[in-house]
Symmetry: C3
Subunit: 137 residues, 3 copies
């Protein structure tokens, strides 16, 4: 089965957006029973993570911690071209994708785990997120 691509718009320069509902729906629509679900943002200045979203301030704390560990501007060479070097650096540190098991037709996540898109260079009208499902034997 080919990858599903979710089209998502982001609203802030940096923010965390919950993808869990949309990915759960893609899993159900696929009819897959057991396997893996791979979720990847198709851009080099955003990331996909797993974390708690019951308290959305966790995403706010994460973004502030990353801003402190890697300053937004620090004579980065890439800033001379696009002025968004920090977005690329943080995207590589967090990674573009997460993979989650599918068991009995559902995502296998802990009670407090959500799939989140991390926008690092927004707002953007279109962030494409691939959802690729692989069935086990």
């Amino acid at each position: 089965m080919p990858a599903i691509v979710l089209n998502i718009s982001t609203n802030a320069h940096k923010e965390c957006l919950d993808l869990t509902g949309a990915v759960r729906q893609a899993v159900r629509d696929s009819g897959i029973k057991d396997g893996l679900c791979h979720v990847m943002v198709l851009g080099a200045t955003a990331a996909v993570i797993v974390n708690e979203n019951d308290d959305p301030n966790i995403g706010v704390d994460l973004l502030r911690a990353l801003d402190t560990a890697v300053p937004e501007h620090d004579n980065w060479l890439h800033d001379r071209i696009d002025n968004n070097a920090q977005s690329h650096i943080l995207a590589s540190m967090l990674g573009p994708s997460e993979t989650v098991p599918v068991v009995d037709g559902e995502l296998l996540l802990g009670t407090w785990q959500a799939l989140m898109l991390v926008e690092l260079d927004g707002p953007r009208q279109l962030r494409r997120v691939s959802v690729q499902l692989i069935a086990g034997q």
Copy 2:
């Protein structure tokens, strides 16, 4: 084949625990010859990494480096609720899962690579770790 769930207890607030033996056994028990092995902790304040464990001090160094890059307390908003914001931040930075190839019925790891559970908010009586195996064609 459905995911196997390993039940693991942790012993310290922060520590690295070697999962390689348990995951190797799950691969052998499955009978899978070639494919992928996905290992994921089902909690938002722990992580799974790959690193050397022949010198267990690498895990100690890693935990100290993370504590320096992201202070345990720094007026994090989530600390007002659970006082464990740093654990969530570091869990997102390291990521909850790793995927390793299976070749000829065995995990394909470099000589110095081990699969490790990183406890970031322990000790916990129960950390659930999913092992999902997918056979290639």
Copy 3:
């Protein structure tokens, strides 16, 4: 189908090397139409990331940011043995692997996304990189 192993030599103590062409070729040679492509370095002092390589300075910026966040020497315990603790720490933070969808026989990457090997303790004559392909149903 068993994993393909790419043999790569690195040229500097730290550097980012583009793997995209070699991985694309492995996907085409496999004949796989839809599925996942898992790329993993089989060493504990290197990493695989996805980022832009049209401006190679992004890799230079990334390596400097990591050097600042985690100093090369800071009384790390593992430095007493191998003097490369920082390489192990950064390898765990970036992670050894990335997984990318395969759609219509090609890697599904964004316009600015490249698969990169990050050497953190080179130069090395031989870095082995596994490419494991899994077809979807």
